[in-house]
Subunit: 295 residues, 2 copies
């Protein structure tokens, strides 16, 4: 029987320790931007993406150190995207992970630079021999993360998400936005774990299938929490999507139908894991947790 | 006899063609951010950093294609830094390379995302086998560019440059800012060229020496042009450093002494090239051009 909560806590602690070690220290002249990098990254968060890296790496007996460095790199990219998305010029959010957002705690310029530096550090981390002894694998990891984070992935999804404010749109548009904005980073997290090993085509396809369903289910629940959640519990402002006229799943489908879809996606994600056998039970537990979470 | 102008023009054309090929096309959904990436990158500029990559690669007979991909990656990082530095939250500039800055032509959110995407694309470019057949070299290139672009380099320099507004400071502070803000990228450009080959320690040291002097000389002239240049010629707003109370070389040393230092640095840079022999004459011509330029 899987104790997911314990696994999540253990991974969180190990990832935090890795991030703590990889982030620069604020002693130098450029202390302010380094403080902001540390503030945004070490503030907590659910560390779902790092968990996906670690859980998929475990399927293939990847050494823990390698997996944690990949997990830290993915979390740096995720954090940079939050820091930039929260800026007044973008989503204009004041609270994130239960504390003032980076530009509120520091200032807009420092937040922009801290995000830039986190993105840069992610690639530096992956390029180092400690991540994997084979430089060809390291280059593959870098390429994968860059594609997932770029215009065909996360940056493209965020661009279209901003453009969706007060615009018409259907389910296809919405799924396309989130497949790139959230889904691409979930998928690359699963892939990074598998790429450091030599997962076969069937195993990789299973992870892709799982990751796609997980990503959409996660986003539907995120949209539902924005409608019905409490800021104190979820650590960020709620009702902001509706206020901004954003395209959301409950907005398009209603609350009930959205929840039904999330449950169906969760079942499909679990089914997709079949070729990976019982070792994938953490990933199965994770998607159930994601769909049932209230923060 | 070196025809530097012709060499600069030829490199510019080759780099532009490479960038044009590497940048995504705006047909997709995320077209707006891709348009902004292309707008900022293909607007021109002197392409000094790409020239440094190509000229140093030529010293070691590095294949042109590899050098041009490295040159394009360096220019993407340089361009992303300009796009972000020009934002209202940072230096708030309206004109760059003789045209409206990216956030003026598009909007702040798109400019932030386009900068992020350019930084990401730089690493994707370096990770690909076409850049160098040896993945260990590609990882070295990535690490070098990440360190030069991060808090110990460009991002740190920009942080301290912003903090220098209306603050006290001496020549040491100022040189430290520019060693990181401008110098780190000049140095890495020279190193990328040499890293793709197997330059020996003496040759690498010569390039480092040259790059350091060139970087400072470039910055002094940049400060002087801000005082005495014309916007129409240099393609960006002038007198902005003084207006903002920024620490500058003419501000600290006066115009005459600043110019004298730039000329001395130019001579030192040329001397540093001695171990590289007559093949380094393009680099020699370049530093003279940088010090004598009026735009």
């Amino acid at each position: 029987m899987i104790d997911l909560k314990r696994e999540l806590r253990e991974t969180e602690a190990a990832v935090n320790e890795t991030l703590e070690r990889l982030l620069p220290r604020p002693e130098g002249l450029e202390g302010r931007v380094v403080e902001a990098m540390r503030y945004a990254t070490l503030a907590g968060g659910k560390r779902l993406r790092p968990f996906l890296v670690v859980a998929s790496a475990r399927l293939f007996d990847v050494p823990e150190l390698a997996a944690l460095r990949c997990a830290a790199a993915v979390e740096m990219v995720h954090t940079y995207s939050l820091v930039h998305d929260d800026l007044p010029a973008m989503d204009d959010d004041d609270v994130r992970r239960g504390q003032p957002t980076c530009h509120v705690e520091f200032d807009d310029a420092t937040a922009i630079l801290a995000g830039d530096a986190l993105l840069t550090l992610a690639f530096e981390t992956l390029s180092a021999p400690a991540t994997h002894r084979d430089p060809a694998v390291r280059c593959e990891l870098i390429r994968g993360l860059a594609v997932a984070g770029g215009p065909a992935g996360m940056v493209g999804g965020q661009t279209d998400d901003l453009a969706s404010e007060f615009a018409e749109g259907d389910l296809d548009n919405l799924e396309s936005i989130h497949r790139r904005k959230t889904g691409a980073m979930f998928l690359v997290a699963l892939r990074l774990g598998a790429s450091t090993a030599a997962a076969d085509a069937q195993q990789q396809a299973a992870l892709e299938q799982y990751g796609e369903k997980l990503g959409l289910a996660f986003q539907i629940i995120d949209d539902l929490l924005d409608v019905s959640g409490h800021q104190a519990e979820i650590g960020k402002r709620v009702k902001k999507d509706t206020d901004r006229g954003k395209l959301t799943f409950p907005g398009l489908l209603g609350v009930e139908e959205s929840r039904r879809r999330a449950v169906l996606l969760c079942d499909d994600a679990c089914k997709a894991l079949a070729p990976l056998g019982s070792r994938a039970s953490s990933l199965e537990a994770l998607v159930r947790y994601v769909v049932e979470r209230n923060h």
